[in-house]
Amino acid sequence: MPTSIAALLLYAISLVLYLWLLYTNRPWVGVSATTLLAGGLLVHYFSLMERARALDSVPYQDLSGSLSLFAWLLALTYLGLEMFHRQRSVGAFVVPVVFVLALFSTVFTPHQPPAPPEAHSTVFALHVTLNVLAYSAFAIAFVLSVIFLLQNRMLRDRAPGRTFWRFPALELLERMSRSSVAVGLLALSVGIVLGLIVSRDVRGRFWSNDPKELISVLILLGYTAYLWLSRTTRWRGARASWLCVINFVVVLFSLTIVNLYLSEFHRYF
């Protein structure tokens, strides 16, 4: 598939530039990194559309398609965050994830199982897209929290390293993480509601006590708790960041173990 290879290539160059930016801090490197990432997003979008047309559904049924969609939304969320907070130094940590996901999606050649009938509706497409968007926003919040914890450690140990001075301030990391989680929560809430509607259309009932439904609600609660606790006396700072990290572990659990072994009707998301 040539478009997905082209997107992969653009992500790869963008990734190198983001890493280089961490060392040199030359403005043109940052601008080129962002431009190439945006270019990758655009090309990737066409690749996804191609696949969606062939399936007549959101690409979610096979591993390749779902990873590809995840990579795309992750890059999109990151780009939005970068523009909103005008801060590029986090790219070196997020874009590698985008690249690896996109790489896997091209390596695992899609065998494209035919989409089930319910997968052709708009509500279903929105449900999948919004939930994946939420997971990508949580992934970014996770990365930001990890950077926060690392930097916090260096500051408290009084041992700042060489690239330390290029990282965003602790406060900004916290704010970026919070806004990312807020976007994720919004997308997840709407996505879950849409999922319930799909469930009613397909199975005749909103709620089936499926492990996927339960863990999604748990994730919703976990991130709501983070958003609230991160402003309180006891939790603000490193503790809230740990909570954010743990929440993402739950998300990963939901995306892997729950999907593969526990849930009745979710395979990849």
């Binding site: 009084r158 060489r162 001075w165 301030a169 603000r236």
Partner: protein, 434 residues
């Protein structure tokens, strides 16, 4: 024929002279203007000593950049005398500290200075601005010419590139700046922050200066004595806080700077714990500049407290110094690139002048010889004379055309005769004229 100097720099800096001497030979802007003007005007020694001149004077260096006007062998001693006389110093006092670089050496020196490679504080940023000012002053005063213009512009370019493309200027190099940079790593911009300053010392005052430059919103000033506190508060444009009321303001500061002369730490873990409770555990950056320490070491383990003392800050500065030193080769490489660029321009510029001289030298004697011949040819009509003159000129031009075209068009040849001394010697052109 001895090799002529075409660019030179003479001066002293922090490496060659102690501060007492540097102070005595510093040029203020007016003096810099006067010296450059005097040296490039004929009034000084009958004939102007220099064709172009610019003075660079900072607290670490006083340097005179010069393009000699004529046979330059005597220029250096004359300039040396002038330098000493200008500052009313015996030459014997000045001479041991004085250095002179010539031609490419002088160019390289200026480029390294602009890049911060020759600074006392490696990679410092101010020097680039000082070089720019020195150049602008000399330019406005009309004492620079094509060579120094090009040279200073090249130096500024090299300096800017070193700053943006290497980490030679990265990482704070003073304790005060390191502390402020750390504050920025915690809080981001300091505009909406409040700092509490307890006591005052040299480093503490530098720190306050940095905080004020970053437009910190509030400065609270406390001291054991109310008079001291209100005095300092007035100086820092801050708000004085009574010592007894310190515990009441703990919710306000994000940054605490303390440099009291005390035997025992005045800020204990218990005290800070109360402070953190008062401020809802919002991060607090405590900078302990006191010797002996003002803050109990155990206070550093409190949640969301970032405690730094003089030693930990000095260690960061030392790390940065080492990191900057690792960048020297890259910076030197950039400087060399720009020196080479300047030299290429310089060679080309000299060649143009040389060609002009060649043409002139060829034409004048030939024209005179032709006139003598024509005098004797009485049978020629005025029209024929004109034709003959023109033909002769055309033939002469044709004869010169080949080497001229070659020199203009073949870079390798230009490279070989780069210094052009060979050509000069061949045609017997005196060096002062080109």
């Amino acid at each position: 024929m001895d090799r002529a100097v075409r660019i030179l720099v003479m001066g002293i800096n922090h490496r060659t002279a102690p501060v007492e001497l540097r102070e005595r030979v510093a040029f203020d802007p007016e003096q810099a203007r006067r010296a450059a003007a005097e040296l490039t005007r004929s009034a000084h020694v009958g004939q102007p000593l220099l064709r172009e001149a610019a003075v660079l004077s900072t607290c670490n260096r006083s340097e005179l950049y010069a393009v000699p006007d004529h046979n330059a062998a005597e220029t250096i001693p004359a300039l040396r005398d002038y330098f000493a006389a200008f500052h009313r110093l015996p030459l014997a006092v000045l001479e041991p500290s004085l250095y002179v670089y010539q031609d490419a050496g002088a160019v390289r020196h200026l480029f390294r200075v602009a890049a911060g490679l020759d600074s006392m504080l490696l990679g410092e940023a101010e020097i680039l601005g000082q070089v720019r000012e020195a150049y602008q002053r000399a330019f406005a005063n009309g004492t620079t010419g094509p060579v120094l213009n090009r040279m200073f512009q090249g130096a500024l370019e090299a300096g800017r590139r070193v700053r943006s493309q290497t980490a030679l200027g990265a990482g704070p190099m003073s304790v005060a700046l390191a502390a402020v940079k750390l504050a920025e790593q915690i809080f981001g911009r300091l505009r909406e922050r409040t700092a509490l300053i307890v006591g005052a010392g040299t480093v503490g005052e530098q720190l306050v200066e940095h905080l004020r430059n970053r437009k910190i919103q509030h400065l609270l000033v406390a001291n054991r004595s109310w008079e001291r506190a209100s005095g300092l508060a007035a100086r820092f444009h801050g708000e004085a806080v009574r010592w007894e009321e310190l515990s009441r303001v703990w919710a306000r500061p994000d940054i605490v700077v303390t440099s009291l002369a005390v035997q025992e730490p005045w800020l204990t873990r218990a005290e800070l714990e109360k402070a953190m409770a008062a401020r809802g555990n919002r991060p607090l950056f405590v900078i302990d500049l006191g010797v002996p320490r003002n803050v109990e070491a155990a206070a550093g383990t409190l949640y969301n407290v970032y405690l730094y003392n003089l030693d930990s800050l000095a260690e960061i500065v030392e790390q940065n110094r080492r990191a900057r030193q690792q960048e020297i080769p890259r910076a030197e490489q950039i400087v060399e690139e720009h020196v080479a660029r300047f030299e290429a321009w310089w060679a080309a510029a000299e060649m143009v002048e040389l060609l002009r001289t060649l043409r002139h030298q060829g034409t004048v004697p030939d024209a005179a010889a032709l006139e003598q011949r024509l005098e004797r040819m009485h049978e020629l009509s005025p029209q024929e004379r004109r034709d003959l003159r023109r033909t002769a000129e055309e033939l002469l031009a044709l004869a010169r055309l080949e080497p001229e075209a070659q020199l203009r068009q073949v870079p390798a040849l230009r490279e070989r005769v780069r210094r052009l001394d060979l050509v000069r010697d061949l045609f017997g052109i005196t060096k002062g004229t080109v």
